[in-house]
Amino acid sequence: MGSKSTLTEVKSGTSCKVLEVQGGRNAVSRLEALGIHPGVKLLKKSQLIGHGPVTVEINSHQVALGHGIAHKVLVETL
């Protein structure tokens, strides 16, 4: 079991498990509908420099998240 961190902190290429999604109700339900919810496993694909967006892969499909929202996704590395 790895340590707890936000999605913006883990390195690209790391597999993690989502622990908690913080943020507004709207953002939480949008993420939920795209498959990012507590318990799901995902792979962080990339993050652009300078507070850039984060791209993750869930079930071999990719989702891009703005930096601010990615910062509110708490994960543990696997």
């Binding site: 652009l48 869930i58 989702v63």
Partner: protein, 573 residues
């Protein structure tokens, strides 16, 4: 009878819709291609039924305007056809389970069935159907495979009897997927590697620059080739032979009829298709000789980028940049569409989440994103004087986009959500659907453009023939002459730009403007006021109050931009 196609964005609903109804709608490879619904008719028993293509949605809790449209449509649907991306069962089932709870007769189709094999996915269709309690039909929308069975199943669609609380949705999706889906390991393909490369912080940026440059040069190359090798020879060598005989038929060069239909006869060169301003000379030439070639070129390049699935990746790469103007990366897509025509660009902002973002995006589009027709005309009248001058117009528009965007971000208050976007896999575009989409867009352009351009030319001629323009010119002298340094006659070009921007620029060409005047006039025409079609859709999307605010910003911006250019540019004769 109302039949509704519902599903996640980008699962092929529009392709199914086009095939079943024969009614043509645009389909691409990015989430949010359809933001409004389209309706067609199909035979149903002895009568007909309405068949509706709803905007894609991930969730029945609507979080943007496009999703609200779908929610409203569901309220009075009699039959739901839930389209599922078979390669992404889990995420799609999240919506399917919610749909079951609506208790509307329903079937599900597993579209993109052919792709499951490449992706190493196996789905037990019968088991899935048994669990969901509705028929499940595998389909391949592009070829129409499975459609007969789908239509058969629609006739006896059962009312689902399962429903779930929101917290139960994902656990249930997980259970279903584990039971019906088997995944095999597969090797990385070339497209997979390209996917990784195009969102990488460094290689992705290089790739984006390369794609944008190639797109730009492809559009120029295709557009100019059509002009140089097809349209110009036809107009110069054949079409213009008919002007003299026709003029005699209409009562000579000076008759009013000839003046309107063929335009002004210049003693030195006869009728000039570019500047005579007749319905059959300049009117026809603007549509077919200048604008159409670039419309074809632009939409060919755009269609390719759309269908391969590059636009969402560009949105990721430009997410940071778009934050400068208070938007997020997705708004790159409306901006791109707007470079073809502002109207679809503005409609595409429906996928943005908040009114504030939509106001900023729509205002920026209508001021500083020139449509393909306008760009073609600017290149047409300014390009042969020097490419630098065209560049000045573009640089001015880009600066205005940035400055106005910065100000709007600061002063428009409201909720400003961040990018949350699915990135579809790269798909090799099918040539058939690529050209079909191009044809839809070209047809749309011709239907829209021809009447407006001809009416515009007609009004311009009448204004000149009856000397009305001199009168209007005097009223606007302070702005047109003193601030922008343009002759009074330019007022007709700027006013008629309201009908269509391309005709506005065309009206500038007989005025013998200096290069500085032409740059000012082109910039003012681009920014000053939206064309009537854009104006209508702006009002619809922003409401009257929002539209008035947006237009107010526009008028001030165009006035300042024209005046500043007039002050700082050298005269260049």
């Amino acid at each position: 009878m109302k039949i509704l196609l519902v599903g996640n964005p980008n699962v092929g609903k529009s392709v199914i819709f086009s095939r079943i109804t024969g009614h043509c709608v645009i389909a691409s490879n990015y989430p949010g291609t359809t933001v409004d619904y389209s309706m067609g008719c199909i035979k149903w028993g002895d009568g007909t039924a309405d068949y509706i293509d709803a905007p894609g949605t991930y969730d029945l809790l609507a979080t943007c305007k496009a999703e609200e449209v779908t929610n409203d449509l569901l309220k009075d649907a009699d039959l739901v056809v839930n389209v599922i991306d078979a390669t992404n069962l889990e995420r799609n089932l999240f919506l399917t389970l919610q749909l079951l709870g609506r208790k509307i007769p329903m079937i599900a189709v597993l579209n993109l069935w052919d792709e499951t094999r490449h992706k190493g996915i196996e789905i037990d269709v019968e088991k899935l159907s048994a669990i969901l309690g509705v028929p499940v039909i595998p389909t391949i929308a592009l070829t129409g495979e499975g459609f007969d069975r789908m239509i058969e199943a629609m006739k006896n669609a059962p009312v689902p009897d399962r429903s779930f609380e929101r917290e139960e949705l994902w656990p249930e999706v997980g259970r279903i997927a584990a039971e019906v889906q088997t995944m095999f390991h597969r090797h990385h393909t070339f497209l997979d590697r390209l996917e990784d490369l195009s969102i990488h912080p460094i290689s992705g940026l290089i790739f984006a620059v390369a794609v944008l440059c190639s797109a730009f040069f492809a559009v120029r190359f295709i557009g100019e080739s059509i002009i140089n090798f097809i349209t110009t020879p036809i107009f110069k060598n054949y079409y213009s032979l008919f002007f003299e005989p026709l003029s005699k038929l209409l009562g000579g060069h000076e008759s009013i009829l000839s003046r309107i239909i063929l335009g002004e006869y210049l003693p030195s060169q006869g009728y000039n298709i570019e500047s005579s301003m007749g319905l059959l000379t300049t009117g026809v030439f603007v549509v077919f000789g200048v604008v159409l070639p670039y419309i074809i070129a632009f939409y060919l390049a755009l269609g390719f980028l759309e269908d391969i699935g590059y636009l969402p990746r560009l949105a990721v790469m430009l997410d940071n940049f778009m934050h400068i103007v208070g938007l997020h990366g997705f708004s790159v897509i409306p901006m791109f569409l707007a470079m073809g025509c502002n109207v679809p660009g503005i409609l595409a902002t429906r996928s943005l989440e908040s009114y504030q973002q939509r106001f900023i995006a729509i205002t920026l589009i209508s001021i500083a994103v020139p449509c393909a027709a306008l760009q073609a005309m600017i290149v047409g009248v300014l390009g042969h004087r020097g490419f630098l001058y065209v560049l000045i117009v573009y640089a001015t528009l880009l600066s205005m986009w940035l400055i106005i965007g910065l100000l709007l971000r600061r002063y428009v208050s409201g909720y400003n959500p961040e990018l949350i976007m699915e990135i579809p896999p790269y798909r090799l575009p099918s040539l058939r659907s690529l050209f079909f989409k191009l044809w839809l867009r070209v047809k749309h352009f011709l239907i829209d453009a021809i009447p407006f351009v001809l009416v515009g030319v007609l009004i311009a001629d009448l204004l000149v023939v009856f000397h009305i323009i001199d009168f209007i010119g005097v009223i606007f002298t302070p702005v047109i002459r003193w601030a922008w340094g343009l002759p009074n006659e330019a007022v007709s070009a700027i006013l008629l730009g309201f009908l269509r921007k391309d005709i506005g620029v065309a009206l500038l060409s007989p005025l013998n403007l200096t290069t500085r005047q032409l740059i000012v006039a082109c910039t003012v025409l681009s920014t000053f006021f939206p064309c009537v079609a854009t104006f209508a859709v702006m009002t619809k999307e922003l409401g009257i109050k929002g539209m008035l605010k947006s237009v107010g910003i526009m008028l001030v911006a165009a006035f300042l931009a024209g005046s500043i250019l007039n002050l700082i540019l050298p005269a260049w004769n």
